[in-house]
């Protein structure tokens, strides 16, 4: 990238020429600067120049405002990717049958979506057969079963039974909810591969499962 690029972008902004601004950005991108870095190496310095020009009186208030409007028009070109890229990992998530406590499930699902996973939220009160149905429909290999009530947590093993009896032995089941936090035996008896303890834990565990799978597939 040329050292002059921020100045060229600045000039395009004060010239109220969005096309020129976009052209500068594209040329910098073409020079090998990644989308994630464009903001730092190009946009921020040019904004610094713009601020300096306004402060010194080189441009007046109106020109400053108009340049800011153009900057707004081209912001999407320099903004780092807002969400993580699609990981291709499909995750089914739902609350166990007869359990309507959705908050933990909702928060984990949103976090996983934000991280780029393909999350299919089955909602609350999900019967084991529905988990199976969606596994077969989507090919998901990660299922998260949420249960906040003890009775529902005790029933979570039915999901594993249902999947196993239909031959889906390679599906990873992760469980989440207060009862599983309290008693690791509940997760074991449910045939779960892991216990998710909140959103950050969901991100970590799903990423690890996805990495393991990718590793196995590469091998």
């Amino acid at each position: 990238m040329s050292d002059q690029a921020p100045l060229r972008l600045y000039q395009a902004l004060v010239d109220q020429d969005p096309a020129a601004a976009i052209s500068v950005i594209e040329s910098v991108r073409a020079s090998g600067v990644s989308q994630a870095r464009l903001f730092d190496v190009l946009f921020v310095p040019s904004m610094g120049v713009l601020g300096g020009a306004w402060a010194s009186g080189e441009i007046d208030e109106i020109a400053f405002t108009q340049a800011a409007v153009v900057a707004d028009q081209v912001t999407s070109f320099v903004t780092p990717p807002a969400a993580n890229a699609d990981t291709g990992v499909v995750v089914l998530i739902g609350c166990m049958h007869k359990d309507h406590h959705a908050v933990g499930k909702n928060v984990a699902a949103a976090a996983l979506k934000e991280a780029g996973h393909r999350v299919l939220d089955l909602g609350v009160d999900v019967r084991p057969a529905e988990f199976l149905e969606k596994v077969e429909e989507t090919g998901a290999r990660i299922v998260i079963v949420s249960a906040e009530m003890l009775s529902a947590a005790r029933d979570a093993g039915r999901v594993r039974d249902m999947l196993t009896s239909s031959g889906h032995t390679d599906v990873v089941i992760l469980v989440t909810g207060g009862p599983f936090d309290a008693d690791p035996e509940l997760a074991r008896s449910a045939g779960a591969n892991g216990v998710i303890r909140g959103a950050e834990s969901a991100l970590r565990l799903v990423a690890r499962v996805a990495e393991d799978r990718a590793g196995r597939e590469d091998a």
Binding site: W54, A68, A110, E200
Partner: protein, 388 residues
């Protein structure tokens, strides 16, 4: 209606206003020994017990006041707050806030508290309606906005809720207070400076501009900032103040341009860091940038809670919940009354499925917010005036 107050009650009032709890309680009891049917004395006693966090005593006194005069609004307030702060009494609390909302229909806090009581009872729709009603009455009611953000988090997770937290944070005066603390601008003087008559040295201009900005007189402040920059274009403090004012006027790019410039010319400018971080935080996709700037700000002013809160919010945006929790925790440690940190901590705890502790943080936020408001005395004075 309210009965006339005895001299003893007036004495108790004076002591209570000075927060002299023990003598004020003694005065209330003295008043009640002479005449136990004085709603004012019972209401005052309720407020004093509430001030000491003696909730059962506050409930008893407020109930007495209401029994003696069902129109005693300050007693309803004390009763509702006592129920809420005591915990586990949301059903009674809902009734009280309903009553108070009828007695004083435009009392925003009643709707906010009602919403929180509904929320604890898992009546989520009713809770949201109450907070919306509060915002209709007062669009700047930050706690209603925080609560709506928490409700959004419960349904749709952090990414959807985070802008709500930030929006609430902007309504919350504490963020502006941070800027003015960093800029060494104290509380507003009784008489604002006239921008045309300010001494023409840089420091006088900058201080006056800060005062005017704090008073929302952005035209006057901008004139003074311009005068400083005309002499010294690379004055980081003036640039940062300009950035702050642009932020307040929703001019994000202008703000960013000035803030970037301020930090370019002085890497240690804390007001510049503040403005730059906020400008970044306002844009989607720049949480990492905001976090970097707020981390530097938190390091530069470690004893101020708000940079830790701002850092925490950026960490939430990056889904780094444990780091966010640590930063929020630090902010609460520095200032237990920081409502924004309390709500943030509640949000993080919800991401960890720690619902009871999240509810506690929200209750603590309400505790400090309602203490700060000092609504009791407003209602009490109105009640007294109504009886005269």
């Amino acid at each position: 209606m309210s009965a006339d107050r005895s001299q003893q009650v007036v004495l108790a009032e004076g002591l209570a206003r000075q927060e002299q709890i023990s003598p004020a309680v003694a005065a209330c009891h003295a008043a009640l020994r002479l005449d136990a049917r004085q709603p004012h004395a019972h209401a005052l006693l309720a407020e004093l017990m509430l001030a000491g966090d003696f909730y059962d005593e506050a409930i008893a006194a407020a109930t007495q006041a209401i029994e003696l005069d069902p129109g005693c609004a300050p007693a309803y307030l004390a009763l509702g707050l006592a129920y809420d702060r005591r915990g586990g009494m949301w059903d009674q609390s809902i009734l009280v806030w309903h009553e108070l909302a009828e007695v004083v229909p435009d009392l925003v806090t009643a709707h906010v508290q009602l919403g929180e009581a509904f929320s604890l009872a898992a009546f989520d729709e009713e809770a949201i309606d109450s907070w919306r009603r509060a915002l209709e009455l007062d669009p700047t009611e930050a706690r209603a906005m925080y609560n709506l953000a928490v409700a959004a988090l419960k349904r749709e997770g952090v990414p959807t809720a985070l802008p709500g937290f930030r929006k609430a944070g902007e309504l919350d005066p504490s963020q502006d207070e941070l800027f003015f603390d960093l800029a060494h601008i104290g509380p507003l003087p009784r008489k604002l400076p006239d921008s045309a008559k300010v001494a023409d040295d840089r420091d006088s201009r900058l201080h006056a501009a800060g005062v005017l900005a704090r008073a929302d007189d952005y035209f006057g402040a901008a004139d003074l900032v311009r005068a400083i920059l005309d002499e010294t274009p690379d004055d980081a403090d003036a640039l940062a103040l300009a950035a702050y004012m642009y932020l307040k006027q929703e001019a994000g790019n202008e703000a960013m341009a000035c803030a970037v410039r301020a930090v370019m010319v002085d890497k240690t400018s804390v007001t510049g860091m503040y403005a730059l971080g906020v400008a970044y935080a306002k844009r989607p996709g720049l949480n990492r940038h905001a976090a970097r700037v707020f981390a530097a700000l938190a390091k530069a002013v470690p004893h101020h809670p708000m940079p830790h809160v701002l850092l925490a919010e950026s960490m939430m945006g990056l889904q780094r919940y444990s780091q966010a929790k640590a930063a929020y925790g630090h902010a609460v440690e520095l200032d237990p009354a920081c409502v924004r940190a309390r709500f943030g901590l509640a949000a993080v705890l919800l991401t960890e499925n720690r619902h009871a502790e999240a509810a506690w943080e929200i209750r603590r936020a309400a505790y400090y917010d309602t203490k700060r408001q000092g609504l009791f005395w407003e209602l009490y004075d109105e009640y007294v005036e109504g009886g005269e």
